[in-house]
């Protein structure tokens, strides 16, 4: 077999010390785990915040320490942590780092040092974010959307310092993401092994690849918005600040546009939804195909759907702004573009279902999570059509319907995929198997629990219950049964919260006591399962890179001796 430049192991950075191997590591697998553990840790903070919010909504006054200011701070920090610091970081920094080189047959990312810097900037952004809890006035309570003028005006918690730590943290996060994202894109384009054409890549890589490109285009909008708001706040500029009063006093600001911020925010914010969704789409496609022992149905259509969704997601942002006071005629365009995006998204759902159809479905834990995802994603995707359909959005916007919708579609759904993916790749990452019973319990409680949480919320929203309310108080149109629903939702949330300990117990216990894993326990065809070592060593492939002869979905090929053919198996 011919050697290629990529086979030359000399330029690789080989660490000698423990610190070089596990702390200042340039190995994509270690960086992936660093990203993953940091994201999950900060995600746990967001999880606790959500429980505190639910306690206030279900049992108002039961925790006297929760005051209106705290409540809004919990809302804001929960939202931002989940969307940016957990989901984006875990799916791209975590799974992107781990899977891209292994799935495309590379030894590492093309810029290992920049990759390492990316993680450390991410950690820095998380630390800055956390300092928000300790500055005078506490973290920002402006909602995760951080709309000015309130984000930097009197009357909003954290308007002095909390907003500064948030904006600085976001700017640092964008720097971290840019270093990571450039790496993911360049690695996919430049470091694929021999035979790994773009149209042979697993859909996980496609999802992460397109999401990274989108991130590189969308995050700059957030970056400039953050810098501009910092200037408004600290240097007295008026990018987003009109002539206005604050607590009865006329401010010195004049001429700025609050709606400009909303455009910048959602120009980032809507692609962001798909930056989270596309890697999840890709990963779940692979979980379904492997555990159903069937080729992914309509692979080419799946790839094109990912690309089309990625492109369209840049022209739908103002569907978050139908009632923002922007020119109302924009509504026609954005409603059409938003509903058109449902078509490629629906194709993805059909093709997942058609992959299961006539398959040989092994209902292992990763597959259970994938099935759970299909259910929650269908639900969350369909409710998005209500909110995209402009006039239908008018009564529903800013109600609990919105909360229910986005939690189903971009909270619960990608998190179910993340859990499925962790169970799926855990044997490769650690070399150990997890406990099946605990995994199944974790799935069922989480899946049924989240549906119990979010299904009723849709109906509260249709009734008109507004979101971001510390307390509903005495409101004529809200019957007492709503308070009952809020209590039930809170109980369900506490159950789901507690059940997550099953996951952590399982993962930690298995790390030390789990049975030794087979190198390819699921019989998967993609390259990452064909490594010479499990877990893969530094450099991934031993002396020679694998050569790829086929796509990643040769399951149950007629006439083949086994029910799968690895990508690196030559044609007979």
């Amino acid at each position: 077999m011919a050697t290629t430049i990529a086979d030359d192991l000399r330029p690789m950075h080989h660490p000698r010390s423990w610190i070089g191997k596990y702390v200042w590591s340039q190995d994509h697998k270690v960086i992936a785990i660093q990203y993953g553990l940091t994201a999950i840790s900060i995600g746990l903070v967001a999880l606790v915040l959500s429980v505190l919010m639910r306690l206030q909504l279900g049992f108002p006054g039961a925790v006297p320490a929760i005051q209106p200011d705290n409540y809004l701070q919990f809302v804001s920090m929960h939202g931002m942590i989940m969307v940016v610091y957990l989901l984006t970081a875990l799916l791209l920094g975590g799974f992107g780092n781990y899977l891209i080189p292994l799935m495309i047959g590379a030894r590492d990312m093309v810029f290992p040092f920049v990759n390492m810097l990316s993680y450390w900037f991410y950690l820095l952004s998380v630390l800055i974010l956390v300092t928000g809890f300790f500055v005078p006035g506490g973290p920002t309570g402006a909602g995760w959307t951080l709309y000015p003028p309130q984000a930097i005006s009197e009357g909003t918690p954290g308007h002095q310092w909390g907003i500064v730590t948030m904006l600085v943290s976001l700017a640092v996060f964008v720097v971290a993401f840019t270093m990571g994202g450039l790496n993911y894109v360049t690695t996919v384009l430049q470091a694929r092994t021999k035979g790994m054409t773009l149209m042979r890549m697993p859909l996980s890589v496609w999802g992460i690849f397109i999401a990274s490109i989108m991130g590189l285009l969308a995050f700059p909008a957030l970056f400039v918005a953050a810098i501009m708001m910092l200037l408004d706040h600290l240097a007295g500029t008026s990018f987003f600040m009109p002539a206005m009063q604050s607590m009865g006093q006329t401010t010195a600001t004049v001429g700025g546009s609050p709606i400009l911020f909303q455009h910048l925010f959602w120009f980032f914010g809507h692609p962001e939804v798909y930056i989270v969704a596309l890697p999840a789409f890709g990963i779940v496609s692979d979980l379904i195909s492997v555990h159903a022992r069937r080729n992914i149905f309509g692979y080419r259509m799946m790839v094109w759907a990912i690309i089309i969704i990625g492109g369209l997601s840049f022209v739908v942002w103002a569907h978050h702004m139908y009632v923002s006071g922007m020119n109302p005629y924009f509504g026609f365009f954005f409603a059409v573009s938003t509903l058109v995006i449902a078509i490629p998204t629906a194709i993805k759902v059909y093709n997942w279902l058609l992959t299961l159809w006539r398959g040989d479905i092994h209902l292992r834990v990763p597959m259970l999570f994938a099935i759970g995802f299909i259910f929650t994603f269908i639900h969350g995707g369909l409710t998005g059509l209500f909110l995209g359909n402009v006039s239908v959005d008018v009564p529903l916007s800013d109600t609990f319907f919105v909360v229910a919708h986005f939690h189903m579609v971009m909270g619960v759904s990608p998190i179910l995929v993340i859990f499925g993916a962790i169970y799926h790749w855990y044997p490769k990452i650690t070399g150990r198997m997890w406990n099946d019973m605990l995994g199944k319990m974790h799935f069922w409680i989480t899946f049924l629990g989240v549906y119990a949480i979010f299904l009723p919320m849709h109906y509260l929203g249709i009734l008109g219950v507004p979101r971001r309310y510390f307390a509903l108080g005495e409101t004529a149109f809200i019957p007492p049964s709503v308070h009952l629903a809020n209590q039930a939702i809170t109980v369900a949330a506490l159950v789901v919260f507690t059940a997550q300990s099953l996951f952590f117990i399982n993962m930690i216990w298995s790390l030390f006591r789990g049975a030794k894993a087979d190198p390819n326990p699921w019989g998967a065809a993609s390259l990452e399962w064909q490594t010479p070592d499990t877990p893969p060593h530094h450099g991934n492939w031993g002396p020679h890179l694998p050569t790829v002869y086929r796509w990643a979905y040769d399951y149950n090929v007629p006439g083949a001796p086994r029910d799968f053919i690895p990508q690196d198996e030559p044609p007979s």
């Binding site: 002539a243 009063q245 059409v336 009734l463």
Partner: protein, 289 residues
């Protein structure tokens, strides 16, 4: 098998929840039945997709679950099936988009006969202004705001002199008359939201926004703020009373005009106000961006 049964049970349970849950839209009290119809059409199309896709999911999980000796069918793609699915999806999307856009085109087209009411938001209360006999609101701006002129009406604008000031959080509207709600914020973003009217719109400092409605059912309705506006957001409430013409005109007669307000001012505050008006004349923005 249990997986398929649970998925199917969740579908049926969701339908049962929809049918038996006590929570649904409040009774409509405005002309926006077209918004409700668009919502119902969207719901029916989405419900059909939800039920059929998930029941299909339950079916395939049961029918094609692993049993010894099973083999999956190898079929990379089926362009005909995929094309058909795309066409059916597009038809469903068009079916809900058409009524949605139709209702929106009504929403953005204010009838010429609409009366004008201005709602002004500030942390955390509502006040209102009516245009008076001339039917035109006087210009207003932050720079004219003084404790005696909290709505910032331009004292040198003749159109503002007859404006009626409603300095309470209770607004009255005549039943059956279209009204254009002009929205203005003194400080941060707010949103004028009456669930029974279905319509809502943000108040944005620096610009004037609007929406319109025709109240159709007399009654007392609560105004909520639907855009996060700080610590007191949940407590920013007001009331709309929809009533017949006679009661409405009685209420109207009790409101103070800006001229009456100026007459009540002391000479000191009056000169402050007039000084602010002469300082410089930047026309306030109208319409929205």
């Amino acid at each position: 098998m249990p997986v398929a049964i649970i998925i199917a049970a969740l579908v049926l349970g969701s339908i049962a929840f929809h049918v038996f849950s006590p929570w649904w839209q409040t009774p409509l009290a405005s002309n926006w039945g077209s918004i409700d119809s668009a919502l119902h059409i969207t719901l029916w199309i989405c419900a059909a997709a939800f039920v059929s896709l998930n029941l299909f999911l339950a079916y395939v999980v049961m029918r094609y679950r692993h049993r010894p000796g099973n083999r999956a069918h190898y079929e990379p793609e089926n362009p005909r099936l995929e094309k058909r699915l795309i066409v059916w999806t597009a038809i469903g999307i068009a079916g809900m988009l058409a009524p949605g856009l139709a209702a929106w085109s009504k929403y953005v087209t204010v009838p010429k006969s609409a009366g004008i009411v201005e709602a002004v938001g500030q942390q955390w209360q509502w006040t209102f202004r009516l245009p008076g006999p001339d039917g035109v609101l006087g210009t207003a701006a932050v720079k004219y705001m003084t404790p005696d002129n909290p709505l910032g009406i331009n004292p040198s604008d003749p159109f503002g002199r007859d404006d009626l000031l409603v300095e309470s959080s209770e607004l009255h509207l005549p039943v059956g008359k279209p009204v254009k709600m002009m929205l203005r914020s003194k400080d941060v973003l707010h949103d004028f939201y009456v669930p029974e009217f279905r319509a809502k719109m943000d108040l944005v400092p620096g610009i004037s926004t609007y929406f319109w409605l025709t109240p159709t059912t007399p009654g007392r309705y609560e105004i909520l703020c639907a855009e996060l506006c700080g610590t007191g957001h949940h407590a920013m409430r007001g009331t709309v009373i929809v009533e017949g013409a006679k009661a409405y005109h009685q209420w109207l007669a009790q409101q103070t005009s800006f001229t009456q307000r100026l007459a009540l001012m002391g000479p000191a505050s009056l000169s402050t106000l007039l000084a602010s008006a002469n300082a410089c004349t930047v026309p306030t923005s109208r319409g929205s961006l």
